[in-house]
């Protein structure tokens, strides 16, 4: 009897926790509907390459970025202009819910690029450039470029967005020691080739 009551009590607790979370999920959906979708598209596929596709992105990566916008540790100029404000009032639960929503959307399909550029970019992505101390990108971002946890999905991302990120990593405007080291020795041509390959996947 007592055990039954206890089970019922636990069930009730679990139920109320679940409904509290559902309410929070509604807050995230409201934000996605009214704000995120204005630039990133309603299902996380954006039109302008100034704003990244979020559909199918790794949830842990998205959470980390939203927190970094909120605490200002991601401070590239574009982040300061747009995302610092957008993320300022997000709660930890809302961050999780927004990330989970975009992670669950079907990712953008790649856009075709010049085959020679794509081939050159593929080579860098798979093998790195030993002479320039550039490791193979696929070792963290996975062979399909789908990403893995904190390592973001790159496949199908906007070409100009990818180029811009490598540029701001190289310039140390977006603080990330590993990506700075990886990007700083890349030439503009190599950045363009890599972005061509990834955006075509």
């Amino acid at each position: 009897m007592n055990a039954k009551l206890l089970v019922a009590g636990i069930a009730t607790l679990a139920l109320s926790a679940a409904s509290a979370h559902a309410a929070d999920n509604r807050a995230a959906l409201e934000l996605i509907r009214k704000e995120c979708s204005s630039c990133h598209g309603p299902r996380g596929i954006s039109v302008s390459p100034m704003f990244p596709n979020l559909a199918g992105q790794q949830a842990p990566y998205l959470e980390a970025q939203l927190r970094a916008f909120r605490d200002h540790s991601r401070a590239d100029p574009h982040a300061q202009a747009y995302m610092w404000g957008m993320a300022a009032q997000l709660t930890d639960d809302t961050v999780k819910d927004i990330a989970a929503y975009f992670a669950s959307q079907p990712p953008a399909r790649g856009t075709a690029a010049d085959p020679a550029e794509v081939a050159a970019g593929k080579k860098i992505y798979e093998n790195g450039i030993t002479a320039q101390n550039v490791p193979p990108c696929q070792s963290c971002h996975t062979p399909t470029a789908g990403g893995n946890g904190p390592f973001p999905r790159l496949a199908g991302q906007h070409r100009r967005y990818l180029e811009k990120q490598l540029e701001v990593f190289a310039a140390n405007l977006r603080a990330n020691e590993i990506m700075h080291a990886n990007a700083v020795n890349l030439t503009a041509l190599q950045i363009s080739q890599l972005a061509a390959f990834l955006s075509s996947q």
């Binding site: 309410a23 959906l29 996605i32 509907r33 009214k34 704000e35 979708s37 204005s38 630039c39 309603p42 299902r43 039109v47 302008s48 390459p49 100034m50 100029p77 574009h78 300061q80 202009a81 747009y82 610092w84 404000g85 957008m86 300022a88 009032q89 929503y101 100009r160 811009k164």
Partner: protein, 441 residues
């Protein structure tokens, strides 16, 4: 006595083409009001290319009733957990200051002075000073309210104002809105529009107060600004199709408040025109297509209105206007460069005028409307035709401050080139160099 209907069949074409190319090392940018920037925490360039021109995000912000906020809210909830209030803890106020210097190619005739002493150079500081209250009022309700001090009348009056409600609806999944719908209450036809190819927020974004205005201007081109009140509903479907229907009306001409005996509510603004019909219908349909860094809009808008000419009472003759316009806007926006092009063409069944990179006003002869016998402002031929171009270069040392040089050139003015007014004034004598500073904070 019954008002007589006067329907002069005057056709008026207005072509407005604005070309704004901003090539900047730092992001070209803006703010229509810094209060929005404070409210959202987002920098000017999210919503503007070069203010007040809107980016795609800026258009969404406006369509969504200016409610997106990132400042703390005073937001109590009811027992049903519904928010009963949503007030920003920081009031969304801002100041706008414009100063200018205007140089006419040739001084205006001045009876009291010799030719050498006639002034062709006017400085206005400020040219206008505005107080904004722009931001969220409640959930789904927002405002753009502007009070402006006008130096020519030394008075403070209401400027462009827009109070709007907006919400979303979905045909499928809840989180993917398929349409935005809203209501707008405003005081200037086209001020509610989100594309900068319509007159209220079209090029040129600032003009001199002390130049020589051509005799003709279309009714929709600012003639009803702050002289009418409009209420309308809009939908924006699938991020492509915008449809709006609104109605505008004005206070009666020479309306007197029966209780106080003073002037009526809109009389003190002495508008150049006012709507005399119970309601003037306004329509707007636009299609937007975006791809990559590009966006293109094509649309139509217009109004049908009966008006009394200024200074004529309720029993006087009426004008009936049908303004129908086509417009288009192209934008290319990246972090580094912005290019935009806007054009509008207004056809008016009965009246006239102009604006922008290239402008052209043509109309039929009407010696009452476009009177001969007036130096400078008149037309010897009784025609409104005016053509020319406006070039402008802007420099934004800070995102909220614009320094500009604008040059207006006339090839034809009020129907003439060499002696348009019959008093020896050439169209090119009205060419105007206008230097300005425009900041808000």
């Amino acid at each position: 006595m019954k008002p007589t209907q006067a329907r002069p069949a005057v056709k008026l074409g207005l072509i407005l083409v604005a070309l704004v190319a901003a090539l900047a090392v730092t992001p070209s940018a803006t703010q229509a009001t810094p209060a929005y920037a404070r409210q959202t925490g987002v920098s000017c360039q999210a919503c503007h290319t070069v203010f007040p021109e809107l980016t795609p995000f800026g258009r969404k912000f406006k369509l969504n009733a200016y409610v997106f906020t990132n400042v703390k809210q005073l937001a109590p909830v009811s027992e049903q957990a519904q928010r009963t209030l949503a007030l920003s803890e920081i009031p969304p106020v801002a100041i706008q200051l414009q100063g200018s210097n205007t140089m006419l190619a040739r001084a205006l005739p001045d009876s009291g002075l010799t030719k050498e002493l006639s002034q062709k150079n006017s400085t206005e500081f400020p040219q206008a000073l505005s107080l904004f209250y722009t931001g969220k009022i409640a959930d789904e309700l927002g405002a753009f309210l502007q009070l402006t001090w006008n130096p020519s009348s030394n008075s403070v009056g209401i400027d462009n104002s827009d109070l709007r409600f907006a919400n979303h609806a979905s045909f499928a999944a809840e989180e993917t809105p398929d349409l935005i719908y809203g209501l707008t209450l405003n005081n200037n036809p086209t001020s509610q529009d989100v594309w900068n190819s319509t007159p209220a927020w079209g090029y040129p974004f600032i003009v001199t107060n002390v130049g020589v205005p051509p005799v003709a201007k279309a009714l929709l081109d600012g003639q009803l600004a702050q002289a009418s009140a409009g209420f309308g509903a809009y939908v924006y479907l699938f991020d492509h199709l915008y449809i709006e229907a609104s109605g505008y009306r004005s206070a009666q001409t020479s309306f007197t408040n029966a209780t106080t005996g003073g002037p009526g509510p809109l009389d003190s603004t002495a508008p150049s025109a006012r709507i005399s019909s119970p309601v003037a219908p306004y329509w707007r349909v636009a299609w937007e297509q975006a791809w990559g860094s590009h966006s293109l809009e094509v649309g139509t808008y217009g109004i049908w209105a009966e008006t009394h000419p200024p200074g004529i009472g309720e029993s006087g003759p009426k004008n009936t206007f049908t303004d129908a316009a086509l417009d288009g806007q192209y934008q290319f926006i990246t972090d580094d460069h912005t290019f935009s092009l806007a054009a509008t063409w207004i056809h008016e069944a009965r009246k006239f005028d102009n604006i922008t990179l290239g402008f052209s006003t043509t109309g039929t002869r009407d010696e009452i409307l476009y009177a001969a016998g007036t130096p400078v402002l008149g037309s010897a031929k009784g025609r409104p035709d005016t053509q020319g171009a406006i070039l402008e270069i802007d420099f934004l040392p800070w995102l909220n401050t614009k320094l500009g040089a604008q040059y207006t050139m006339y090839g034809k003015f009020n129907g003439g080139t060499r002696n348009y007014d019959g008093f020896g004034r050439r169209a090119s004598d009205n060419n105007t160099l206008f230097l300005f500073v425009w900041t808000s904070f």
